[in-house]
Subunit: 358 residues, 2 copies
């Protein structure tokens, strides 16, 4: 495990994106989104994914100079076509549109088609906090999840992110795949040659497995809850909700027909829309209540939950966003830790793009 | 187990509500919401709860003639104060406001304070379907859930409901508590003297339990996912999201400070707002995409998911809303089945209110 200064990794990613003809501002933003993931400890969605983006760009599957446009528009809602641009570029554009609408009429909701994987969902909802808004963000993704009682990949890990500002306390930031575990954790288990816990995945026949390589060789992740008794049907419902808001509502592909992403699948059964889909929402807090009063209550909420009696054998409940905040403190001090195979990937990206890595 | 015609139970509930001075139209609507729950097989939230509402009304804890008013208003958002009215009355009013806003500007989001338990969340999102909208509905509820790694009740079962219309297929209707199991299922296990599955609950010390009476004697339900490996932290995040949107955003009570509901608790630690809170959302589909195209894609989605290969030992995945639809078919044929203790409760309500039951 080696540690790298965030600035240096940002510079490398930015130049890699630029080498594919992406505009400097967009390349810098895409790099920022990867580095924010690593800085928040979400190492599965940071520079570890750079090679996958490079694979997509080399294959010509991402438009480096998209003409992003609004397809339908009303005061509180819109659909955006990302023209197959880089997900981070299209998503930032559409998220800004949702926040602008919320500033104007109290709420803004934007569905997006013709887009690609956008990094961490949490990045986008953090932007809403700067405007005294509550931010919402979802995306559908390449299918790797079996619905409860299914033996086939039918859904992506379909994350949901939501952020609420506080006054003196740090904000509450929810950023979660609607699976028991994010796919990146399976990737990391494969890189580390470790097994995965029961409840995360099934093999190609739909049988429970603890071998992470079963997931990439035809198996699937399970929705959060894993089984009926623990709410696996509800995890499937949430994943379906994300898929319907991102896919059919925007005109993007959905479910098993989402375009392939590296490591997950290489073929697409049929096409039912454009690219993958995102869904952004923003609520202006002052449209509902005095923002200072709201934030004071959120402070109280956070302190109340921190004071909860701990269950036996635990340190007590966390506040959503705590793990990322703790990771961030350490990483800002010590640098971004990268596993050996990730460093190898970055060196390969360097060779393929001509951008020097070290 | 006795079966009763829905019309007869509706008539009884309506007259019981009226006996407390609730306006005839509001009493009929509240009765309808209970009967829709029973008709959809959600027997935990139907007439089985009538006695709890009667307890609240007898204790003077519900205002039979509320002056519901808009506290803040903008084109796509509002906050409503329910003046401590019956939850079904206040919720129907606020849900209509959200749908009206969506009709006008594409999206409508309404937070509600000063309200009470409103029956099933699913009822409200079904109304949005009649307007070619996607409906969202949440409420916080009396605290009975421990956050992951907590040993105290800090959250309600905080349900989320979302409905999407289809064209030839029936709609997709998600209606779920953010716990592994709804509290009503624990109530039913107590009534039936059965144990509950692992993963549903902890006892008063925060230890896992399968005894449903542990839940009412100081224990707590677990968020969906139950434990870390199966996403219990994510279930806690979703429950927190519902609580923050319903409580601090509207000015209602939140978390452990929600007002008591019968069987759950009798005292309130402190007051941080007005009543409990709801949160309604509506998205006009035509603000995003052609509604017929959307519904055609939803049909395709449903058929694709129905055709998914089944996991070993199962009949394959369901579509959200299937269990309620299956229950409804049988109940429309055979009547609403009520457990003996529920019938006893209704007879007691009859004695206390003077409304004849049979």
């Amino acid at each position: 495990m080696n540690r790298f200064p965030p600035e240096r990794l940002h510079e490398f990613c930015r130049r890699v994106f630029e080498s594919f003809g992406i505009a400097p501002a967009d390349a810098a933003q895409a790099a920022e989104i990867l580095i924010v993931a690593d800085t928040r400890g979400i190492d599965t969605h940071g520079v570890a994914r750079l090679k996958a983006y490079v694979d997509l760009m080399e294959a010509g599957r991402v438009n480096p100079k998209p003409k992003i446009r609004i397809v339908r528009d009303s005061p509180a809602a819109a659909t955006v076509d990302g023209d197959n641009g880089l997900g981070m570029t299209v998503a930032s554009w559409a998220n800004k549109l949702a926040m602008d609408k919320a500033d104007q009429v109290g709420a803004g909701w934007v569905s997006v088609c013709g887009t690609n994987h956008y990094g961490i969902a949490g990045y986008y909802v953090l932007q809403a906090l700067k405007r005294e808004q509550i931010g919402f963000c979802m995306t559908n993704t390449t299918s790797i999840v079996a619905p409860l009682w299914g033996a086939e990949r039918r859904l992506g890990t379909n994350p949901i992110a939501v952020a609420f500002p506080a006054l003196e306390e740090p904000p509450i930031v929810i950023d979660m795949a609607t699976t028991s575990a994010a796919f990146g954790k399976v990737e990391n288990a494969i890189r580390r040659e470790e097994s995965i816990p029961e409840g995360w995945a099934v093999d190609a026949e739909g049988r429970p497995t603890t071998n992470p390589t079963d997931v990439v060789s035809g198996g699937a992740l399970l929705p959060m809850g894993s089984d009926k008794d623990r709410g696996g049907h509800k995890g499937y419902c949430l994943s379906a909700m994300v898929d319907l808001l991102c896919g059919p509502l925007s005109g993007a592909n959905w479910g098993p027909f989402t375009p392939p992403f590296i490591m997950l699948k290489t073929t697409q059964e049929r096409t039912v829309g454009k690219g993958i889909g995102h869904f952004f929402g923003a609520l202006k807090i002052s449209a509902f209540i005095d923002p200072t009063e709201f934030k004071r209550q959120v402070d109280d909420w956070i302190r109340t939950f921190r004071a909860t009696k701990a269950a036996p054998g635990t340190d007590g409940p966390l506040i959503p966003g705590d793990p990322e905040r703790q990771a961030e403190e350490q990483i800002r001090r010590e640098g971004i830790p990268l596993l050996g195979p990730v460093v190898d990937d970055l060196r390969e990206v360097s060779r393929r793009t001509g951008v020097p890595f070290e």
